[in-house]
Subunit: 327 residues, 2 copies
């Protein structure tokens, strides 16, 4: 009976809800990408259309770094790791003379990165593990609400893209479940993405370390161990999507070649499919980079994306506004 | 604007939807467990109550084997593995003389299990891997809709518990997200749990093997590899819950000591909490087993559960009916 009433009410309100928005995506210019998004959403949500997709299958996946918020001069999680190194330095006197920690403590970002991914991973392991999941949640929440970006001086959550916030909300209003699928740490994102993006923790897929269930003074905790569990990047993104979601998305949004396989996997399913790449072309309002960039390199996606029918957003041309809370 | 309308409509309909059911849980006797469930759901869904829990945090986790469907004489996934061994035997002539395969092919279940968990894992690896995720999905769907239980002769999906189906639906009607958290393989459950339990694939947490993203004839696939990824049992259940859901459930349902840590983890959070163990006491309508059972052993839960405030269901005394679709 209850289920019946819910169904009736859903049927009664659905045309109202799904058609009520007078102008979706107000921060998008009325150019190709916005038109393509609105057209796609229209056809998959129109009952009776040959392209209609039931609500349960409306899964949309979004990369985070460079797709939902900025990623320059370095992934924000790396900047968080640097801040953690500085915080923890007093407890680790040897860091003053050990790379990459010594460079971070001197404020030498280039030196800190000289060791490449290995050095970064070493810093992540040293600063993201050893505590419980609840303690780490508190550490991230404290940082995300107080730390400032080194060049803009803004809170990091003020460097999220207003057009993408509107896109997330627009898709959810049209029955989509929106997921984040990021190379970043899943527990680095979960503490704040619900507040900032409207994406609940259970809809975040990311890289992870291993945890262990322990009793501490009789109380169960999950201890964060300095051991990699999963890297959710490149070929890992479809693997993470299948592990976590268990069905193929119908829309995928990325910005770098680290997202290539996620978009490829999404587009290889049957029925209507949509893939979009955010191209960072706006050196004035944000950053301009692609093929030669160390962070967020985009070469293959620019080369092959258009041939594969993927939509390319030029931030400079297609977005009226970049960051939330600013012009 | 759309979000505003959705909120208004939700507020208008919520008392109607959540209060409309005249008699929840009709297959439960009006004994302690049903009363405890209804009382708990009432208090966490009553706005203004000190125990009110927002919809986003209403997470309920269910073990599968022995909690939502039967698990005797052996986990049904093991019976699936045996059926797969028989199907694949022609391609593996050596199995006729190699244990544990030889025992399975002779129909000797005891012999097949003589090698313990290691032998079972060997059969799972030999029969559950090598194909793509899409191919495995088809294999499971074919089996689940045709294979019969060795002693009851029923379809396995006719051996799910009607009272638990009602409980899942009742919780969802009260704003809960219902998850399965099982020691079984996640990809063994996903192909049918949405149809049978109303639980979508993205709300299934389970054991898993590793997969690899590959292009086969230009088409991307996820190849299932004979390598364990994660065991979602005992101490692994809270780990799996955190990995997948990223927040602590407020209700947990299990039946064996393999669920102990999941219930313990759920109950250790702040605010209102509920844990329930299904005790198999009904040798006539189902099976009767607990402390001495090889499959679904329940000893610690019976000993400590009541002292910890966990609810114990006696299938014989607390359920009017056991299986769906039968008396």
């Amino acid at each position: 009976m209850t289920r019946f009433i819910v169904s009736i009410v859903a049927v009664l309100i659905s045309p109202f809800v799904f058609a009520a928005d007078p102008e979706p995506l107000p921060s998008w210019n009325d150019t190709g990408p916005k038109q393509a998004i609105v057209q796609f959403v229209g056809k998959v949500t129109t009952e009776g259309s040959p392209d209609f997709v039931p609500v349960a299958e409306r899964i949309a996946v979004f990369d985070n770094d460079g797709t939902l918020w900025s990623e320059q001069p370095l992934y924000f999680q790396a900047l968080f790791a640097f801040d953690r190194v500085k915080q923890l330095a007093a407890q680790h006197p040897k860091w003053k003379t050990t790379e990459p920690f010594a460079s971070v403590l001197r404020g030498d970002m280039k030196g800190a990165l000289a060791g490449g991914e290995h050095a970064l991973l070493e810093m992540v392991m040293a600063t993201h593990t050893g505590m419980t999941t609840e303690e780490f949640d508190k550490i991230v929440k404290e940082w995300i609400t107080t730390a400032r970006h080194p060049t803009t001086g803004r809170l990091y959550t003020d460097m999220v893209y207003q057009p993408m916030l509107e896109l997330l909300a627009y898709l959810r209003a049209n029955g989509f479940k929106t997921y984040i699928v990021s190379g970043g740490g899943v527990e680095f994102m979960r503490p704040w993405v619900e507040r900032v993006y409207g994406v609940p923790p259970e809809q975040v897929v990311g890289s992870s370390i291993k945890t262990r269930y322990e009793l501490r003074e009789g109380r169960p905790v999950l201890a964060r161990l300095p051991e990699l569990n999963f890297i959710d990047d490149k070929e890992g993104k479809p693997v993470g999507i299948q592990q976590h979601i268990g069905r193929r998305p119908i829309m995928a949004f990325g910005n770098s070649d680290g997202d290539f396989q996620m978009l490829e996997w999404t587009m290889a399913g049957t029925g209507p499919r949509f893939a979009l790449i955010v191209h960072h072309t706006d050196a004035v309002r944000e950053y301009a980079y692609d093929r030669e960039s160390h962070v967020g390199k985009l070469a293959r996606g620019l080369e092959e994306g258009p041939k594969r029918g993927w939509t390319i957003v030029s931030m400079k041309d297609d977005w009226k506004r970049v960051y939330s809370g600013t012009k």
